[in-house]
């Protein structure tokens, strides 16, 4: 009798790339639902566009690179990239924005760097940043939250806005500036944080409506950490560092700097901490390295939000720390078993 010879170990505990990626998708669901509830179905429309673009682009690139389609499409990594980008985009952004961003993320940021496992930067964030720098106007008009307007745009309006002609009036009726934007412009005009925060767009903790979305993301993220799909060190490091640095400055000058809970619960802080920064391929890989990497993102986010030129800094912070990840890994190797401390 002849048997196959493979190397040990001969058992595998059943983990797979597809399973890891699917878990990320599950963890995104609560946040996605919250987004729909607060901002209307726009995010679903964006997700649909992004996912179909991503799968098409992925299939195209895999074919061009001569990789087996079934195996690599089945890993769901393109799906995750597409969803992350769709969530980051304004729900009412025109369709070509989404297509462009997703295509760029998959084709350039992922496959031209070698595909799954080889991309040094988070593809979704590359797509987002490219859009943000190229189309700042489209990228900063967010749908107004439910709590502000009392209603969200229905599906028809959404579809019309996404795919149809975008007149300034209809747009203005359903969108509002994001809180971080508002904060920046107002502080730039000399108002104090407290003054600005009395604006109706602000809610209890951060931006009105956003608290709920962020809490949903937090729930999904914590579940993911529990499942060990994401390394807990990265969100812990990032949110911890963000909290510490914002508290420090807020204590020093509460008029110029927003309080820590505001930083944590508005914008993409929580979403970024759990879902963007934890992308394993481009993050640091050692336990201590991940804490440092997360902390770096936290600090950079605060810096960009407070003194930089863009309203939210998570995307840039993540990309900047991606660059530093290999170096961090190099200097944070764990002590090997038996090695003298």
């Amino acid at each position: 009798m002849q048997f196959a010879t493979t190397t040990s170990p001969h058992v595998h505990l059943g983990n797979s790339v597809g399973r890891v990626m699917r878990r990320v998708v599950y963890a995104l669901l609560p946040g996605l639902l919250a987004l729909v509830w607060i901002f209307g179905p726009g995010v679903l429309v964006q997700a649909a566009i992004a996912v179909s673009t991503a799968l098409a682009a992925e299939a195209l690139m895999l074919t061009l690179r001569g990789k087996p389609l079934g195996r690599f499409l089945g890993d769901c990594s393109a799906l995750v990239t597409a969803l992350l980008l769709a969530i980051a985009l304004p729900p009412l952004a025109p369709w070509w924005i989404t297509v462009l961003g997703t295509g760029f993320a998959i084709i350039i940021a992922k496959h031209l760097y070698g595909g799954l496992g080889y991309n040094p930067f988070n593809p979704a964030m590359i797509g987002y940043v490219v859009l943000l720098t190229s189309f700042p106007r489209e990228m900063s008009s967010w749908a107004a939250p439910l709590t502000l307007h009392g209603s969200t745009p229905d599906l028809a309006t959404t579809l019309a806005l996404v795919f149809g002609e975008r007149s300034a009036e209809t747009l203005d009726a359903v969108t509002s500036a994001t809180v971080l934007d508002l904060l920046r412009t107002q502080i730039g005009l000399g108002h104090s944080v407290t003054e600005v925060r009395s604006s109706p767009v602000f809610g209890l903790l951060g931006a009105r409506g956003w608290e709920w979305v962020n809490l949903a993301f937090l729930a999904g993220g914590l579940w993911m950490c529990r499942q060990r799909t994401a390394a807990w060190q990265i969100p812990a490091g990032m949110l911890g560092a963000l909290a510490v640095i914002s508290t420090l400055f807020w204590l020093v000058d509460a008029a110029r700097f927003a309080p820590p809970w505001f930083h944590l619960f508005s914008g993409a802080a929580i979403f970024g901490a759990f879902f963007i920064a934890t992308d394993p391929v481009s993050a640091s890989t050692t336990p201590r390295g991940r804490l440092i990497y997360g902390a770096g993102i936290g600090v950079l986010t605060w810096v960009i939000r407070s003194v930089g030129g863009f309203p939210d800094g998570v995307a840039f912070a993540v990309l900047l720390m991606n660059i530093a990840a290999p170096t961090i890994d190099q200097y944070t190797r764990p002590r090997v078993f038996g090695a003298r401390a």
């Binding site: 190397t7 058992v11 595998h12 496992g117």
Partner: protein, 802 residues
């Protein structure tokens, strides 16, 4: 205070996995003895260290328990006949190794009687716990016991750490899934296990023992506890400690960590920390070896998995074919998909079951297709870090993987590749299904190979440098020789003009003729006979060559050197020729029948005809050895496990005896050719030869026997080197004189032969560098300085002579 009192808690190691245990399949099956197989194959290398040296001959009948092979070197283990029968072959056979390279094995055909020999068992010892530790260790060494947990490291070597050990750990964890042989052994023979533990404790001179057993084996733990109580006071300071079930807590390093908190890494051996780990099956084997005198000839093997009809635990003789185990357990089921030796995490998958059981095999796992992971297509690494979380050595498997894959082996080493214990945790959790462990093994073997190559290149460089230096020196010496010749010729007048103008040319021509002669040996002899009447130098040359060959073969056929010395003096007569022919026939016959031992083979120096002939005799024997490819011969002498030094002394002593004989042989014409050789010089040359021959024997793979041992040790090589240098020095010193004498004795036929021999012979002796010379050469490559170095180097090396 006992160290045990300080152990108040268990420790953790990083990572580890909960792998489905699958112990239930076989842990209720009591150990059964497998019926005697018809044939056993016993590889000489079943352990870590040097392969054992066979000490039986093909065709020899052995009893159960007789030694088949002896430990060869310090780290090696003896091998015993698992049953009575006949040795039918000693030849390379496939073993369970990923390479599939066959290993020299003793094939034993069972006679079905399974009887112990009168001498195979040393006397059993009743009061074994009061034995002298040194005697105990000797007993363990003689019994050929190796670590039975899988690594197969010779146990006696580990027990030699007397005094350095504070705590002896008995590894009863058996953490690999499926395997239950230790579990069963503890349940059924707990007394022997504890007895063995106490014996090893005594051999090591330690007081404190900890038995570490995973908490999934409560029955075994209870049995051990009961046995401990039986031993009562004798088993004081033995702590039975249950530990949580977590793979790989049965790995030595991890077990010691869990029990004592001490981490033993690559930089710190267990002994350095004063902790030694032994497996339970090893303990039982030690017990049997001491109390019954029973060598390690069988072991318990678990046969399990869904690919086998009835999983069982079997007591199996070493050397039994796997197929016999499979058959006894009801054969394969249709689900059988992979045959694994060892457990599913670290085991080795075999292509088929026609391989023998060796000492280190604890389990034969026939896995069904759904028990094992299919050789799945792997995805790229997504750097998820799962592998890092699982790694019990706290490594970064992912970074090791990237470097190994890119063949950046130095970087792989920087991320501590060699701390990897190949436990397989990383690959078992990798979402990308990467064959991580194979990458590590690949990288490790590549690094070792590169190191070997580097060493070899360095050696070659040194030898080449010496080669160049030697050529230069010889050039100078040749000039000196010519000078001497010229003056000798002037002194002796016209007589000197008769010898062949170019002895070397003549030698080559003659040699060519001999090559042809080989193709028609009878014809060559006839030619030689005719030639004896003529005195043309060329033909004399041929004649002498033929004679030398004949004599050599004759020597090979005769047993005593004394006879040889006498024969060598005989003149060439028709009867003699006949005798030679007869001798040749005998030699051929012997060759075919694998000649008996003539360990004095190695004692043939180079210069006098007798010695040349003896060298030829050595060659004949070497040929014989090869022809038979049987390792048995030289062992006859070497059997009592001679240490390398002893072998060397033996060779030297023989050489001395021969040299004396040669020196006292009746004077004849050709004695002139080597006039300056004193008996001591001859002796030294002989010793050098002996070593060279030994070395050569080592390089012939078919002769993994006595000769191989000394040749492999570095000191041996060094000594050989020194001897060669000495030989060279002596020859060089005599050469001018020899040449002159040869010229004088030009009309003498035998001298005629010798003259051309002398100079090539000098060149013939390779002379690598002594360390001292190496240093000198490195310091100054320039020719003048090299010469100087040689001049001062020569006396220095002769000082080293004993």
């Amino acid at each position: 205070m006992s160290v045990l009192n300080t152990i108040t808690r268990l420790w953790r190691f990083h990572g580890g996995l909960h792998v489905p245990e699958h112990k239930a399949e076989s842990n209720s099956a009591a150990i059964e003895a497998l019926p005697l197989p018809a044939q056993l194959v016993l590889p000489l290398q079943q352990h870590i260290g040097a392969a054992a040296r066979a000490c039986v001959r093909v065709g020899e009948r052995v009893h159960k328990g007789d030694a088949l092979a002896r430990a060869d070197g310090y780290i090696s283990a003896a091998l015993h006949a698992p049953t009575s029968g006949t040795v039918v072959a000693i030849e390379p056979r496939p073993v369970a190794h990923p390479s599939g390279i066959p290993v020299l094995s003793v094939v034993l055909e069972s006679d079905g009687r399974d009887e112990w020999g009168p001498n195979s068992l040393p006397t059993p010892i009743e009061d074994y716990l009061r034995l002298d530790p040194a005697y105990l260790r000797e007993r363990v060494r003689e019994a050929g016991i190796v670590g039975l947990g899988g690594a197969a490291f010779p146990t006696a070597v580990k027990l030699n750490a007397e005094g350095a050990i504070r705590v002896l750990v008995l590894n009863a964890a058996e953490c690999e899934p499926y395997i239950t042989c230790d579990d069963r052994l503890m349940r059924e023979r707990a007394h022997a296990v504890i007895g063995g533990l106490l014996l090893m404790r005594r051999a090591l001179g330690v007081k404190d023992c900890i038995i570490g057993i995973e908490d999934n084996k409560p029955e075994a733990a209870a049995a051990l506890q009961a046995a401990l109580e039986q031993f009562a006071d004798d088993a004081e300071d033995v702590l039975l400690q249950q530990i949580p079930t977590l793979y790989p807590s049965g790995s030595e390093q991890q077990l010691i960590r869990v029990l004592t908190g001490v981490e033993i890494g690559r930089s710190r051996r267990p002994v350095d920390s004063g902790i030694l780990c032994q497996n339970v099956a090893t303990a039982a084997a030690v017990h049997d070896a001491v109390t019954e005198g029973r060598p390690l000839i069988s072991r318990v093997v678990t046969v399990t998995g869904s690919g086998i009809s009835t999983p069982r635990n079997l007591e199996v003789l070493i050397g039994t074919p796997l197929s016999a185990l499979i058959e006894y357990c009801g054969g394969y089921t249709p689900r059988a998909a992979r045959l694994i030796i060892g457990g599913p995490m670290m085991g080795l998958a075999l292509p088929g079951d026609d391989l023998p059981i060796t000492k280190g095999m604890n389990c034969v796992l026939v896995a069904g297709a759904d028990d094992v992971s299919a050789p799945e297509e792997s995805m790229p690494c997504i750097r998820c870090g799962e592998c890092m979380n699982a790694c019990p050595a706290n490594l970064l498997p992912q970074q090791m993987y990237w470097h190994a894959r890119a063949r950046e082996f130095d970087k792989a080493q920087q991320v501590n590749l060699f701390d990897c214990i190949e436990c397989g945790c990383c690959a078992a959790v990798c979402p990308s299904h990467l064959p991580l462990v194979q990458y590590y093994r690949f990288a490790k073997t590549e690094i070792w190979a590169a190191e070997r190559e580097k060493k070899k290149a360095e050696q070659a460089r040194a030898r080449h440098e010496f080669h160049l230096y030697r050529l230069e020196r010889e050039e100078a010496e040749k000039a000196a020789r010519l000078q001497a010749k010229k003056s000798a010729a002037q002194q002796r007048g016209h007589e000197a003009e008769t010898p062949a103008a170019d002895p070397k040319q003549a030698a080559i021509a003659a040699a060519l003729a001999r090559a042809q002669a080989k193709k028609a040996a009878a014809k060559a002899e006839a030619t030689a006979g005719e030639s004896s009447n003529e005195l043309s130098p060329e033909q004399l040359e041929k004649l002498a060559a033929a004679r030398a060959r004949a004599e050599a073969k004759r020597l090979a056929a005769t047993q005593t050197a004394g006879e040889a010395a006498n024969d060598a003096t005989a003149a060439l007569s028709p009867e003699q020729l006949e005798k030679l022919a007869a001798a040749r026939a005998r030699a051929e016959a012997k060759k075919a029948a694998s000649a008996p031992a003539q360990a004095n083979a190695d004692a043939a120096p180079a210069l006098s005809p007798e010695q040349l002939e003896k060298l030829a005799a050595a060659r004949a024997r070497a040929e014989a050895k090869k022809a038979a490819s049987a390792p048995a011969q030289a062992n006859a002498d070497a059997a009592p496990a001679l240490s390398p030094e002893q072998l060397e002394k033996l060779a030297a002593a023989r050489a001395r005896a021969e040299a004396k004989k040669a020196a006292s042989a009746p004077a004849q014409a050709n004695a002139d050719a080597a006039p300056a050789l004193t008996p001591e010089q001859l002796e030294k040359l002989a010793a050098a030869r002996a070593r060279a021959e030994a070395k050569k024997a080592a390089s012939a793979p078919a002769q993994a026997n006595a000769d191989a041992a000394p040749a492999l040790s570095p000191e041996q090589i060094e000594k050989l080197t020194a001897a060669r240098v000495r030989t060279e020095a002596k020859k060089a010193a005599q050469e001018a004189l020899a040449a002159a004498t040869a010229a004088v004795a030009a009309l003498d036929a035998d001298a005629q032969e010798e003259a051309p021999t002398a100079s090539p012979a000098a060149e013939a002796t390779p002379a690598p560098l002594t360390e001292e010379q190496l240093a000198r050469l490195a310091a100054a490559r320039a020719r003048a300085e090299a010469k100087k170095a040689a001049q001062s180097g020569k006396p220095a090396s002769s000082d080293q002579e004993q």
